[in-house]
């Protein structure tokens, strides 16, 4: 019954579409009939579609992945202490950073300071059959070395956290653009009938957690129903999910039923189809009041699963969020983003890396393994990384050495959904400053993610203010075919 009501077009959205397209009625002046019909067919279908239907014409090609789990290490983890092994930097420890690297480069907190090299703080070893170089601080990730593809040549445009996050999520630092999770759910819909298609979870632990703005999961100029929905670990998991004090489920049900009946009567008076949409949305809201608590109730998980993730309870930790990510994936949520805040290590790099890795390393590996065991890894793309990396240069904010923000080269890893495990791609120079071999810009990452989901980033556009916007922007972006399985 519910599915049925959801098929009703959101009339207001439809009206907006019509307005956007209506110039054709006039510009065509009688000739535009067929074009108009074509647009109507296309866009009516687009706006009529239920939450689980893709945009007409999508996917463009057979997808390799159905969904994405983005483990977002917020603050900018050091590539030099995790995946980018630079023995030469150790040799230069304490020496001035060669000016040839830094001249004319944007610099964040080290502006005007003397720039000296800081040696990698952890030992690196090769792991797995693939022999991937991974630092000792990540023993669990080392265990899945053969399942992940490490990109060591990432680079981005913005050197401060907020704009860099915005680039990583929307492809530009200009506010107001949709995040990739919104783009993807807009394009593909979701597979879940009673959960949002794009869910955001957050945790913290490490150095002074950097703020994250809800702009990072905003739908920008895309319809509001594609925005990311943040699940909270304290209070209501979703805003206003709980009934008011003194109202039980039966009371809420009867109230919603009365509202439905009255709205139906109003529909009879006005014929406004938006009313049908509202009825459907109230139904979905009522169901979410059940489905979300069920999702969060992990009592059905085995002790061994909990132990593998390191979950103690529903505590909002990264471990708990990783477990939830799997549960969301199982329920068909399209885009799942986990932020862990704590990776901004301007000082005390070693102890803070130990904290962050203790909190994130095990659960990340457990998630990949768990997905694999359940047969979900092949269709789930897992991404691990932050908004940028950290300087090869020393920064002295704290008792022990730290590193500043760095955008010219850093590392991320991908696993599952069509990605070749056990591979490395790209490289930075000998000091870990510039991505010199096969550089991968954030736009290239976006193009690759979309490709794996069956979307051609060049053809995936949305008309806004007269322009055809796309996630990958106007500059050339390329799919990194070399890392695809």
């Amino acid at each position: 019954m519910v599915k049925k009501t959801l098929d009703v077009p959101p009339a207001e959205e439809l009206r907006q579409l019509l307005v956007r397209r209506a110039f054709l009625t006039r510009s065509a002046a009688g000739l535009g009939a067929a074009a108009l019909a074509w647009l109507w067919e296309k866009e009516l279908r687009a706006s009529e579609r239920g939450p689980t239907d893709p945009l007409p014409g999508l996917p463009h090609h057979p997808p390799r992945a159905k969904r994405v789990i983005f483990l977002y290490m917020s603050g900018g983890p050091s590539h030099l202490e995790t995946f980018d092994y630079k023995p030469k930097l150790a040799e230069l420890d304490g020496q001035p950073m060669p000016e040839s690297f830094t001249k004319g480069q944007p610099i964040a907190q080290l502006q005007g300071q003397e720039l000296r090299c800081l040696a990698p703080q952890f030992r690196f070893r090769q792991h797995g059959e693939s022999g991937q170089w991974i630092a000792d601080i990540l023993p669990h990730t080392a265990r899945i070395a053969d399942r992940i593809c490490i990109i060591r040549s990432m680079h981005t445009d913005q050197i401060n956290h907020d704009p860099a996050h915005t680039v990583m999520n929307t492809g530009t630092s200009i506010p107001g653009r949709p995040s990739m999770g919104s783009w993807i759910t807009y394009g593909l819909g979701t597979e879940s009938e009673d959960l949002p298609g794009f869910v955001v979870l957050t945790s913290e632990g490490g150095r002074n957690p950097q703020p994250i703005a809800s702009r990072q999961w905003s739908s920008g100029f895309l319809p509001g129903r594609y925005q990311g929905v943040q699940f909270f670990s304290q209070g209501d998991p979703v805003h206003y999910l709980r009934n008011p004090d003194g109202v039980d489920r039966a009371a809420q049900r009867s109230l919603v039923d009365a509202v439905h009946r009255l709205n139906q009567l109003r529909f009879g008076q006005t014929g406004n189809s938006e009313i049908q949409t509202r009825i459907a949305q109230y139904e979905l809201a009522f169901r979410m009041q059940m489905s979300v608590p069920q999702l969060l109730d992990i009592s059905d998980e085995s002790p061994s699963t909990l132990e593998r993730y390191g979950v103690i309870g529903p505590d909002g930790s990264f471990a708990y969020n990783c477990l939830l990510a799997r549960r969301l994936a199982e329920r068909g949520v399209r885009f799942i983003q986990l932020y862990h805040r704590g990776w901004d290590h301007h000082g005390d790099l070693v102890p803070y890396m130990q904290t962050c890795c203790r909190l994130c390393d095990g659960p990340s590996a457990a998630l990949v393994e768990d997905l694999q065991q359940r047969g979900l890894l092949d269709e789930t793309l897992v991404i691990w990384g932050g908004e940028f990396g950290r300087t090869p240069m020393f920064q002295g904010k704290g008792k022990l050495p730290g590193r500043d923000h760095h955008i010219r080269g850093f590392s991320m890893w991908l696993a599952g959904g069509g990605v070749k495990g056990g591979t490395s791609y790209g490289a930075t120079d000998e000091l870990g400053y510039f991505a010199v071999e096969n550089p991968v810009h954030v736009h290239d990452l976006h193009a690759t993610i979309l490709y794996l989901l069956g979307i051609d980033h060049r053809r995936f556009t949305y008309r806004y203010q007269g322009l055809d916007f796309r996630l990958t922007g106007v500059e050339e972006a390329r799919v990194v075919h070399e890392i695809l399985a």
């Binding site: 006039r26 067929a34 994250i212 703005a213 109230l255 009255l262 938006e274």
Partner: protein, 813 residues
């Protein structure tokens, strides 16, 4: 009748085209189109470049063959008449009158993929219809026109219409002429109840009190409608209503936006905007004060507060920001907003390159930026991670009524002290003591009032810094030419002095014959009252925007607006007094089919209220609403922990525990990064960038908000108390009373029965669950009625909640 804007039967060649198109289009889609395009297939008119051709060329061709020289291919422009004679491939690009001899036509119809335009890898494709239009346009002589929005206003004679009597405002006739042409019936006038609710919501953002509705229904004076309009235009809530829209445009918020999203001092500016609309400040003056209030000769404090406009952009206090980079970001932000608010143009692309569709050059972008080069910004970078953060230059100001009050106190103090000193001999001991006591009291009052002062950021002009064009928008590249305050070449008006500063910028924008400012503003005001603009793309009147449905009407309103001295209330008055405005919003089957998007305005448009007015409605109906005008940001209930992701410093949200809890939505604390979930659920923008039109979503999160947000639950239980006290004795009578209070009409039998049943059911439920009833009627801060039975109150609370969740309650018809 002016032929220019009328449809005429199409000439024969067009019919041929139409047939040709139909031939290579699938029959099924063609049939589907029949319902929409009606008899236009067999009828058309002479093509107009702006209306018919430019949209196609702009969308499909200009990005490579348009104004942007850096990316132009084959050195070919298609956006100017002077280029059409160029020769390519042995032919003129365009040979007027002869499509077959035009290279353009050859290329767009070529079967050879390597020849065909647009090239397949551009992602653009011309439809058969578009090709046919281009062909026909060349056949008709390939006449170019300047873009409509950049042309000078033209005077248009009023068209002849079928029913002149019906047209209350002369310009109603422009609309009717179209209806006559299309042979559609416009909607009848709405009934008085609907009109009352519509006018209240449109002009004040508040629901019509039932007594006012009844008085209007009963008012038999011929000018009853005008009287109501004038009363509402004079209401101080008019300014609040208009401010909700203006604040979206200028992206007003109470926090800095980037990184730590600390609070900044801006709320007096918000109050200035409200006051300006209430005072009916002429729009040219309003413009001048915001852009350049600090530069006005003998500027008043209010004018200086207005210049906060230049300061409410997003700023960052993140450690490690590079000043030069952020100065560049701020410059670009200001230019984008200027372009959106006053020019209705999207300038963002010109930060890095010449605009691809409109004639704005990259130089224009930075020339605009140079107007802001004197704005003191450097102090913004000082100051640590505190919230509220201090972003000098700031001043302390008092609310207008407080200033008046203070003035009176000062006057009286003066009097008192004069008497004490000069009349000291004639005063008795008692008189003297009384005067001294009064002096003390007055001084104490003065102290208290002075403490209500609020800080506000203002603009201070300093030595202008050098502005350069940034190649590809790169702030580190100093090689670009220097930019000076100057206006785009193509935007001509009678402003004729060399511009130097922001005041000149404001004067240029408000020059009576400036082609954009009045058109853009009038179009947006129209949309506030009709749901859609005369040019539907409210944010872009440029080449990629939509062709206005009634350009002549838009011109007419704009000219009149300027002639009326940029009188905003008069403009609004003219619009709401029109016959078009007073139509019903229910669409006839004919209109539903012929004009589903209501671009002809042959009916009103029903639409959901903006987020703020939904809140205001519930509070108003419950009786909780605090109607104070202006003041510091209000903090309603908000889910705990919502700001957990903020830092520098960590933030705890403390909801107001006094009357500030019940203030109107326009006063809600606007946290850019974490906008209040209620505002967000109903599509209020974060105000990072200009928003000229809010989207309208309909989501489960909105449903959850109305159902469970304590603001609405509290309003419901307080409304329930009123229902019990004032709604009579019987459940049916009470339902009717409540329904009328909330919706301005009586319920039908069926409607009443549904709510009576809901009441009975809940009465039974809460008799069994007395504890639960007690908890429900205690939601929120408002005092609990101890003299009423909690069970009964809880049952009526459920009824009130149902009413607040009705589609109709959220709707303006």
């Amino acid at each position: 009748m002016s032929g220019e804007f009328r449809f005429s039967r199409i000439p024969n060649p067009m019919r041929r085209c139409a047939r040709r198109v139909a031939l290579f289009t699938a029959t099924a889609t063609f049939l589907a189109a029949g319902a929409l395009a009606h008899d236009n297939v067999a009828s058309a008119r002479r093509l107009a470049y702006n209306r018919d051709v430019r949209p196609i060329l702009s969308d499909k061709c200009f990005s490579c063959h348009g104004p942007d020289s850096a990316h132009r291919q084959a050195d070919l422009r298609l956006d100017r008449a002077e280029d059409e004679g160029q020769v390519r491939g042995g032919h003129s690009v365009i040979e007027p009158g002869k499509p077959e001899e035009s290279e353009l036509w050859q290329r767009i119809t070529s079967r050879d993929e390597s020849e065909r335009m647009p090239p397949p890898d551009s992602g653009k494709e011309l439809s058969a219809e578009e090709i046919a239009i281009l062909e026909e346009w060349i056949r008709q002589g390939a006449v170019y026109e300047p873009h409509w929005a950049y042309q000078a206003f033209r005077n248009h004679s009023l068209p002849e219409v079928s029913d002149r009597e019906w047209c209350r405002e002369p310009w109603d006739r422009f609309l009717m002429a179209r209806w006559d042409d299309e042979q559609v019936e416009h909607a009848p006038e709405a009934d008085r109840r609907t009109l009352a609710r519509r006018l209240y919501l449109d002009l004040t953002g508040l629901p019509a009190p039932i007594d006012d509705v009844e008085a209007f229904v009963a008012d038999e004076r011929p000018d009853a409608y005008e009287r109501l309009v004038d009363k509402l235009l004079a209401s101080p809530h008019f300014g609040e209503r208009m401010a909700v829209y203006w604040l979206d445009l200028v992206r007003y918020a109470d926090t800095v936006g980037y990184h730590g999203d600390q609070e900044h001092a801006a709320s007096p500016y918000r109050d200035y905007v409200i006051q300006a609309f209430n005072d009916n400040k002429p729009f040219d003056q309003f413009t001048r004060e915001q852009l350049a209030g600090d530069l006005l000769p003998n500027r008043t404090e209010e004018q200086w507060v207005a210049s906060c406009y230049n300061r409410i952009l997003q700023t960052s206090h993140e450690g490690g920001v590079q000043i030069k980079e952020y100065l560049a970001k701020y410059l670009a932000d200001r230019v984008r907003n200027l372009g959106s608010v006053w020019l209705g143009s999207t300038l963002a692309c010109a930060e890095c390159h010449n605009h691809k569709y409109d004639p704005f050059t990259q130089q224009d972008f930075y020339n605009f930026g140079a107007f802001f080069a004197d704005v003191e910004d450097l102090m913004t970078f000082r100051g640590g991670d505190t919230s509220p953060t201090k972003r000098e230059p700031e001043i302390e100001v008092l609310d207008r009524p407080v200033r008046w009050e203070l003035q009176e106190i000062e006057n009286r103090l003066q009097e008192v002290s004069t008497r004490i000193t000069s009349d000291s001999e004639s005063l008795t001991e008692q008189e003297r003591n009384e005067l001294l006591a009064e002096q003390k009291r007055l001084e104490a009052c003065r102290e208290v009032l002075r403490r209500t002062a609020r800080r506000v950021m203002v603009t201070v002009s300093v030595e202008p810094r050098t502005i350069r064009v940034l190649p590809r928008g790169d702030w580190m590249d100093d090689s670009g030419p220097i930019a000076q305050p100057a206006f785009p070449e193509f935007l001509r008006c009678s402003f004729d002095r060399p511009p130097r500063n922001r005041l000149d910028l404001a004067d240029w924008l408000t020059t009576p014959d400036h082609p954009l400012t009045a058109r853009v503003f009038v179009n947006r005001i129209w949309a506030l009252f009709f749901g859609e603009g005369l040019c539907p793309s409210l944010d872009d009147v440029g080449g990629q925007g939509l062709w206005p449905v009634h350009p002549e009407l838009l011109d007419q309103l704009a000219v009149q607006f300027v002639e009326d001295g940029w009188d905003v209330k008069l403009l609004v008055r003219r619009i709401v007094l029109s016959s078009a405005y007073r139509q019903q919003s229910v669409a006839s089957a004919q209109l539903q089919e012929r004009d589903p998007a209501n671009l002809w305005f042959a009916r009103q448009t029903a639409r959901r209220l903006p987020a703020e007015f939904i809140r205001d409605s519930a509070l108003a109906v419950s009786g909780l609403l605090n109607r104070r005008i202006g003041g510091p940001p209000a903090r309603p209930y908000q889910p705990e922990g919502y700001y957990a992701l903020l830092n520098f410093p960590k933030r705890t949200y403390r909801p107001d525990r006094d009357a500030n809890q019940y203030r109107r939505g326009v006063y809600m604390h606007w946290q850019r990064q974490f906008l209040h979930p209620m505002l967000k659920a109903f599509d209020a923008p974060q105000r990072e960038e200009c928003v000229a039109k809010r989207p309208v979503s309909n989501t489960p999160l909105a449903a959850l908000t109305l159902l469970n947000d304590p603001t609405f639950v509290e309003a419901a239980r307080v409304f329930a108390e009123r229902i019990v006290r004032l709604g009579g004795a019987s459940p049916g009578g009470r339902v009717t009373w409540a329904w009328r209070e909330a919706l301005g009409r009586s319920p039908s039998e069926e409607e009443r029965a549904v709510l009576v049943a809901l009441f009975q059911e809940n009465l039974a439920r809460y008799r069994e669950q007395r504890d639960a009833a007690g908890r429900l009627v205690r939601v929120g801060l408002a005092p609990v009625a101890t003299d009423l039975d909690a069970v009964e109150l809880a049952a009526w609370t459920q009824v009130a909640r149902a009413i607040f969740n009705l589609h109709e309650f959220l709707q303006r018809n």
